[in-house]
Symmetry: C2
Subunit: 221 residues, 2 copies
Amino acid sequence: MSSLPLTSRTRLRRLPDRGSQDRALIYQILDEGLVCHVSFVHAAHPVVLPMAYVRVDDSIYLHGSTKNRMLDVLGAGAPCCVAVTLLDGLVLARSQFHHSMNYRSVALFAQAEDVTDPERKALVLAALCEHLVVGRSSVSRAPTRQELGGTRVLGLPIVEASAKCRSGPALDSAEDLSLPYWAGVLPLALRAGAPIADAQLAPGVPIPEVLLSHGGAGRAV
Amino acid sequence: MSSLPLTSRTRLRRLPDRGSQDRALIYQILDEGLVCHVSFVHAAHPVVLPMAYVRVDDSIYLHGSTKNRMLDVLGAGAPCCVAVTLLDGLVLARSQFHHSMNYRSVALFAQAEDVTDPERKALVLAALCEHLVVGRSSVSRAPTRQELGGTRVLGLPIVEASAKCRSGPALDSAEDLSLPYWAGVLPLALRAGAPIADAQLAPGVPIPEVLLSHGGAGRAV
């Protein structure tokens, strides 16, 4: 896969080696995340909101009710910036100053494009289910025409984007290494617990294997 | 604790019962989160970036190098919006349409105030360490005068803020309840793995109890 072009908005001024325009890395982060934070300007003020999203090919997609005001603003062509952040660990240094976090993040600058074709909308919404749980779109009811009509889908092309990551140990100064304080990394990850079945499940409906095998064992559901 | 005032920016137009101005709930979410997303307007475009933060009393605090350009923008009085989002689970409905997520989130609208008093800065930075791991500020080296001088701390007063939460089961339509699809909630939480000790630890430095007891058992470290 290619690299995205560096722009004035995606070039890191500080710690530039934490930044990357590598498309494969950017897609990996986008595919692992579940929630993005979408920022836009409304009435001259910045607003940021958490949203579900999914990447399909070279775009990410947001969706919501056709009455959603944020989608109105974005759909009208307002520029937006989307962040996806995966927190990988706490970096505990001997010095408070060098405490940090390990993370992988993406920032995407884009203008939204309305997805109006019903088939394309259905494809994106199915992909969104697959993004939550692999295989989910084939063990759930597809949207009706009315549901599709009430759902707005916006695409954000991945053209101007960058990844920023930190990994590895604490970076204390040499003179602090002998201090009598524990230093290291506490890994963090979003993990799934035991699935909670709906109280009104139809009789005999089995729990999908994928939920059982991943329950408690990580977010790769 | 009190409720914050509703404003045109913190009132939810849709699903208003998911919103709250309850200060106790807002603080609970802020205290559980580790990363916030800060949005601001730069050169007429929205920008959103992940940041560490900590709440102390009725403000949240950001920090970074005095060379940090985002802190320059915010410190000059640019309005900002900060989101903290805790993802609690995937809501798997029988219909794709009713798939959702359980979450608790806060949106805060504020203008930053520079914290310049060195003692106050040191207090906030110690609180930031405590926010990562309880007790951490007393088992790490406090910042030197030079480190404090190189660190900028900005406070954002919690005056205009709201919480938005979803919890509970999938909300399929009555006519979908008998569909032969599994429905339920897959709980998600940020969890800690086994701590990774620094390769150059001073001899005989023990691992803090709090990291051992919480390793793998959740983020309440």
